[in-house]
Symmetry: C2
Subunit: 459 residues, 2 copies
Amino acid sequence: MGLSSKVFDQLCSIVGRDHCSRLAEDQVCYAYDATRRFYPPEAVVFPKDAQDVSSVLKLANEHGFFVTPRGAGSGMSGGSLPVKGGVAMVMTRFDRIVNIDTDNLVAVVQPGVITGVFQKTVERKGLFYPPDPSSADFSTLGGNLAECAGGASAVKYGVTRDYVLGLEVVLPTGEIVHFGVRTAKGVVGYDLARLIVGSEGTLGVITEMTLRLLPLPEASKTLLAVYDKMEDAAEGVSEIIRRGIIPRAIEYMDNAAIRCVEGHLGAGLPLDAEAILLIEIDGTETEAGFLMDKVVAVLGDTPCRSIHAAGSKEEAALLWKARKSISPALRRYGTGKLNEDIVVPRSRIPDMVAKIRELSEKTGLTMVSFGHAGDGNIHFNVMFDRDDARQTSLALEAVDAVFDYTLALGGTLSGEHGVGIAKAPYMDKEVSGDVLALMKRIKRAFDPAGILNPGKMLL
Amino acid sequence: MGLSSKVFDQLCSIVGRDHCSRLAEDQVCYAYDATRRFYPPEAVVFPKDAQDVSSVLKLANEHGFFVTPRGAGSGMSGGSLPVKGGVAMVMTRFDRIVNIDTDNLVAVVQPGVITGVFQKTVERKGLFYPPDPSSADFSTLGGNLAECAGGASAVKYGVTRDYVLGLEVVLPTGEIVHFGVRTAKGVVGYDLARLIVGSEGTLGVITEMTLRLLPLPEASKTLLAVYDKMEDAAEGVSEIIRRGIIPRAIEYMDNAAIRCVEGHLGAGLPLDAEAILLIEIDGTETEAGFLMDKVVAVLGDTPCRSIHAAGSKEEAALLWKARKSISPALRRYGTGKLNEDIVVPRSRIPDMVAKIRELSEKTGLTMVSFGHAGDGNIHFNVMFDRDDARQTSLALEAVDAVFDYTLALGGTLSGEHGVGIAKAPYMDKEVSGDVLALMKRIKRAFDPAGILNPGKMLL
């Protein structure tokens, strides 16, 4: 489409010359996300308010250039990459926590606020914003909403979608609108607030969000259980839930994940274990203690090697640091990494882990799995040398096989990373042609000119 | 549009002659819902499976007749009324609980299953389906999903939307499709499952649903608190939540509601109280007891007249029966009843109750409010003589004033009843023209011929 100097000047006059750039260094800086793919935009704009966003989008419709909104660029599926060029719209100036209403457990926040900053701010008021993607320390709430981020606490508390009450959104055609409500309930009209959540920035640009909060749980307790067999670990998870206990988190790591992160951090994880479970219980002090005793008893009845309750906050924090370090630490296994976040019914995790082991043996590639055992959300990584064509092709074939098996088990191809460009080629494995066609009609209902975040999800 | 004999015969050949009728008695029986408005369909069909539904909808597109899907007809906003004639599609033959997966806390259910039957069935397996509209004993899950039903437990457990994982839906154009997933998480493509929830049967016909379940809480405890001032009751509610306690339910009744239901049931409610709170706490036996003591202490610090913990399951059941009898019992106050379910921020309930009292005094009409104090969802009823034109007009004006004030307080016009025909004329008070236009484009993306449930929500 090509951005003329005249149009660039118009962009500058909307957001101000200090907040608009087409310098090579900015094009490079905003060409990336966590997928490490490289798509430089022609220009970068930093709007300050909904009116700026609206004016940029109206200009885009008028002149036919693409706009791709972006938060911190920490996405795992390429949702914020300007794959067709055009303008990268960086939302980091929307960095204000507008209001925290402690009486009504509601916060009004701008999309550029860092998730972890928001969490800590509400915690200081005794409140709790549960969604906790591993990227919380650097990802933005806007990005979390666009991808419907999950995290470890989803098994008990649900995902980002479950905390969104209302949104201010700029439509791709430039209208500034409100979806949803500012109250706990609301059913007036179609649920467009939740349609925006997880739509990966293709249906509108979020400029303000009203989020639901919970009271902060009084206490949390962390436990590590070590298993010689993945099946036994999975049975432990199922049995906890069968007994009516929903922990705040039930994470697992397979042996490859344990070895990788232990080499990196030295957290004292057992290098020869086939699996470990990291379980966190929260609630009132009494309740958390009571439930933790119950979990220890339940796991004690499974053939686990050891059960260890973290004795201090520091020890619990170290275990969590180990868990959250897996993804970055994996780079030591190869220059190429395919990182998928499939979901299977919780009880089918052992089947999937066996499948992954089989594929690893067959291909000779390191494959690592870990993730949210409580809700069947498996982070599956294939490591390879990306300069080696044979390894690359084996890795892609393995992902394909895992996706097919995921769907055969009744699962889904993404639990929290989204489709973006990474999974777009696989969409039609899971979603039928009729539904894809319907999604395209919905996209057109929002964005008739197709200017907003093109080349994603529906391609 | 008029249904010819030839088309009626084709309908009969789809569903079978025993499941297709245009007898006057069937036209009358399926002309109603809980709004008591009367719109007879030209024909009534009872499909048995998705294929039947698909064939009927394809025929409707071909011959241009309207189809209005319907569950038990217990809706409060007219969502299932065939307001433009055509065919009433009664979904009651979809009455099978297909599967309850105790390991993965997921159930697959057909839409004609009665909500209360489903709840009791999963409870026998130690599981819990929280959404609890007052109509649960007779409304269907399909209707609950179409309207996004709420209920008393929403303050802790959320609404119907929060329990929907995946849907089989027949699109208005006849395609049988799947939206969403069968797992705890899933973000592949636009969130069409949740777009269907609350769309009031205008975007598709649900033929199967995959629902999320929870472990059944071990214990619940019920408490009644009596107040001489509504403001003090509301302050009690706020203080409970400020202390970090989210009860399973926090209901209130105003004086008119108390008098009405007490005259009807004789549950021993204090006739001279300005407000009562009905609070239920659940959790493990220990936790429920501990939290109930805390709630009693918190309310003890407010100027309440009395606090009484139900001593037995029977006593708790009687209190809940009183609460759930209010709506039907109100008929004693007049032949006309306008029944609204506005939501305001929880802390603004006293303002709204004061406004209602002022309107009641001004008009001389009985106005009753009660409902879900925990999430600000107020059931507001105006009673009048429907043969009296002056009273009718005063009642409508009062509703209008309450709606305006609701929006001024940052609220919404419906928390759980939906728009249907009852609130359609008021939609544009809350939803902007740009958003209404977008909703209409979305409707067209699903239903280009406009044959499914016309005349609702967007008119």
